[in-house]
Symmetry: C2
């Protein structure tokens, strides 16, 4: 492609509103432009990278017998009402009315649509299993779109759905998919981990996320320093054997803590440590207020709490409701002498506190010498806290460390979450009607592009890996007005194209400095420069990632290209 | 692809709500399913055809230096407000609000978005011309979605936009695009014509439609029986030299026509012909009521009328308004003794009526012996009527005939229709600010698929042309339980795939009759049947379009395939 004929609006300055490297460079190198918050256009270079990402995904989906389809963005509300998501998906779901005032969702995901398609067609176990996928625009009205393509409101996704007659069949496809995802992210050149995850609003049970390790990741991964274990910290189990203390139980004492607000302050004032404080929180689980205890140095994980309670929703209780329940402000809450009937849950660690400190349910007062069992009772001890660095790894091997990750893929075992409410059934081998057992599998295609961009760059611009680079070679005659250079450029352009290299030919009448700066910014793997020594038949190759520059005879060009690209 | 692993839900019965062949067969052969009115899912076979259509379009766009981009569906209302289309596009434009109550249009077309992208980036004539295209889902809330993919509310479109510094440059790209479209529709195997067209709500001047000739077309094409002339009848000029009559002018006479309502009835009653009747209509052009006359056997073309009047909108006047103006019901209107100040337009043919019949603006009365000029005056004669079969061709060669067409492509010279209101300007060679001169060019990708489907079928199903067929070869072992057949099928499947043929391998445990019926319905170019004579090494080839069947040695298979596909 001649550069004069395409549209690559490079920028010298870093755009003010772009916080992360990938976003800055995708804008600066002219790959994308923002249309409005969270909504982007892919310009020619961006579109080419997207297509390469899509091809790799498509190939790996086909290896595991995924079949491509294309479903609509306009989804009739009735389908989302069948599963209830019309009511509980919240403001992230764009909703639109047609000219007859009928309601539609703008496709945020396609579980409902695909289940409705199959339930009319697949009536027998003989036609199962089946794995369908699509690559398509999705719409989610994110509260805080940011980081460019990393969290957008309109984005491109590969979503796949599998349908099975048995759990074993789902397990097999899930493992295939895990392998396919591993292949995809490996081929994309990403530094990633697959981690145990929470299934969120999609529903379902077993689920893994694929996380690209990155400083700017919005998720925290807990991983073992000596095994393959990795999980989203939302999900990482705490698997620790606390040890009984030999400390002697003291008497419970009510003490004044006139100015101390935080756990740290209270602990210091009472000459103890946060580990010996009992943090008391009140949550609202569905409609019930629940008291939840943890150690002062731990944080309650509401996803774990929700699971233990088997609740639909769990959130911090409103301070007014708390005051009504316990006659006390938040900040001085404690588990001693609670009103009858209030359920108390505690994290396992609380059980091992001896002579703890807790609020006295009276402003400005705490207890010391508080001992669980003796001074207050707990209805249930469970794993309720977030794992912390230094905890033993949940798989029993090594110690937990944290890393930040960008979620680029997510695979779920849905089971019958969608097929039961939507009446998606087949007849099994005994002629009995059964709901489909389903899986669903997503990759954020445009987000992947940003994740690669985040990983492959230096101070001068991108350094695209060969398999994703918008073009293979940047061919640059330094001076298009020099006839020798211009002629050699045309000649090499034709030659390289005839060998099926994708060439970006900078035929612009720009200064050499501008051309080189643009080339570094765009970041194709190899720059072929035709300069003053063209008259001697000598050209220059610059390898973008290695940063090396060599002069070669033009006759050697093809050989060098083959050596590099094969 | 093994048929057991993909999703091809064929139907034996013709779906009740599908009126046209392409829609019936796309449903029956399992290529598409309707999600809701005008909204479809592309199942695996449909998606494959789509991809082939898209590849051909992409290739031809690249030949003329079109560069691919991908713009969003969510388009901020502010852009559409800049051009005014937010207010006058009407209910066809889907509108959606985000969580902050901001208004968006769902992309029906992308003139506003692309102009907004370029106006920030292309500031110099040096960077022009530029042709950008995308292949993408579009949303238009059609009043009457119908005929399956032919008129949908969510559909796939290739849209291209070109930007120029001069009219000559636009002309050149327009001609390139016309050639590219001709190549595309030729490669797609369509029987089409390019016709002169109206630019509708997109705006602009020169414009051509590409029409696939088809009985079910919603448009009528007027074409010459002896030249290349073809136009949408909306646009076909009437280029006829009417001849002065030698008939002597009679006296104007008012006659009673008590029961005669239609022109036909009046003409018969008064012993004359519709050609001698003067049809009188009242139109509302913007806010003015206008009297428009045509010959009784002609129809007024409101697009021509709108152009002659240079009006924004033209519609039939409300009967109440007509009554107020002329003190008479519609049905007895005539041009004689009209109130002062009422503008009268007439089609050229009216000028040559001698002793005509017209309404007397009094219920139950007409005039005979009416002569233009003598009995009534006309402000302007113009070409206002629809062309009819038998008229001379507007290019002066031959006679006009009519055909029905499906519009599959449309190219427009937009000029500065969008760049002026949107302030899309560049500096010309003299440093002067000029608005971009633009073109836009569309192809209905999913509609093309339906148009091909409409053209390539017989009573048994589809007969896909090679270049668009979802697979090349349908490989069918008659009995998968027969080990010789099953083994040979696997062997040939591998062989054909290794030669890069796309093979659909019917490995299902279905009866031969079901397999053959499905194969005819799906309509791949060649069926390779492995039946009883497999043990002798003999297989059967069926050429779907020719309907021929031949038996060959399996060793001849590759050679036969090469002969057919090359």
């Amino acid at each position: 492609m001649k550069q004069s004929l395409t549209f690559i609006p490079t920028l010298r300055e870093v755009p003010a509103d772009a916080d992360v490297k990938s976003h800055q460079l995708l804008l600066r190198a002219g790959f994308i432009r923002q249309n409005t918050s969270g909504v982007y256009s892919f310009l020619p270079l961006g579109k080419k990278v997207l297509q390469k990402v899509e091809s790799i995904i498509r190939e790996e989906m086909e290896v595991i017998n995924g079949v491509e389809v294309f479903m609509p963005a306009l989804q009739q509300a009735e389908l989302w009402q069948e599963t209830g998501r019309w009511y509980n998906y919240g403001p992230e779901l764009f909703r639109v009315k047609d000219r007859h005032e009928r309601d539609f969702a703008l496709g945020a995901t396609h579980e409902e649509v695909i289940t409705s398609l199959l339930r009319d067609e697949i009536k027998s176990y003989k036609k199962l299993p089946l794995t369908l996928f699509q690559i398509q625009t999705k719409f989610r009205d994110e509260k805080r779109p940011r980081f460019g393509l990393l969290r957008g409101r309109e984005f491109i996704m590969k979503d796949a759905y599998s349908f099975h007659a048995s759990k074993e069949s789902l397990d097999a496809t899930y493992e295939d998919m895990k392998q396919a995802y591993t292949n995809i992210f490996t081929r994309l050149g990403l530094n990633f981990r697959s981690v145990i995850a929470d299934s969120g609003s999609i529903g379902g049970k077993d689920t893994h996320e694929f996380m690209v390790l990155s400083e700017i990741g919005e998720d925290t991964i807990a991983y073992s320093d000596s095994s393959n274990y990795a999980a989203n910290i939302e999900m990482a189990e705490v698997n620790i054997q606390y040890v009984d203390s030999e400390e002697k139980q003291e008497t419970l004492k009510k003490v004044e803590t006139p100015e101390q607000k935080t756990i740290q302050e209270v602990a210091e004032f009472l000459e103890t440590v946060p580990e010996k404080c009992i943090k008391t929180l009140v949550f609202k689980a569905d409609d019930e207020l629940i008291v939840v205890l943890s150690r002062g140095d731990h944080e309650i994980n509401d996803i774990k709490l929700k699971k233990v309670l088997d609740a639909q929703t769990v959130e911090m209780a409103d301070p007014l409701e708390v005051k009504e329940l316990l006659q006390c402000e938040i900040g001085s809450l404690g588990p001693i002498k609670l009103p009858i009937g209030v359920k108390v849950l505690a994290d396992h660690a609380v059980k091992y506190i001896v002579n703890g400190v807790c609020g006295a349910n009276e402003k400005g007062w705490h207890y010391t010498g508080a001992n669980p069992g003796r001074d207050f009772s707990v209805d249930e001890y469970a794993d309720l806290r977030f794992i912390v660095e230094g905890d033993p790894s949940p798989d029993g091997m090594g110690t937990v460390k944290f890393a930040k990750g960008i979620e680029v893929g997510h695979i779920f075992k849905l089971g019958t979450t969608y097929s039961i409410p939507m009446d998606g059934t087949f007849l099994d081998e005994n002629g009995k009607s059964q709901p489909y057992i389903m899986g669903c599998y997503g990759i954020g295609v445009s987000r992947v592009m940003a994740a690669v961009a985040e990983q492959y760059n230096d101070d001068y611009g991108f350094m695209w890996p060969n398999q994703l680079s918008p073009y293979d070679i940047h061919l640059i005659p330094v001076n298009m007005k020099d006839e020798t250079q211009a002629q050699m450029a045309e000649e090499l352009y034709k030659l390289l194209k005839s060998y099926r290299y994708e060439v970006l030919f900078d035929d612009r009448a720009e200064r050499a400095g501008v051309k080189f700066a643009d080339a570094d910014l765009i970041g194709l793997p190899i720059r072929v420069t035709i300069g003053k020594r063209a008259s001697e038949g000598i050209i220059e190759l610059k390898y973008r990632q290695a940063g090396e520059t060599v002069e070669v005879q033009k006759e050697e060009l093809l050989e060098k290209m083959q050596a590099f690209f094969n």
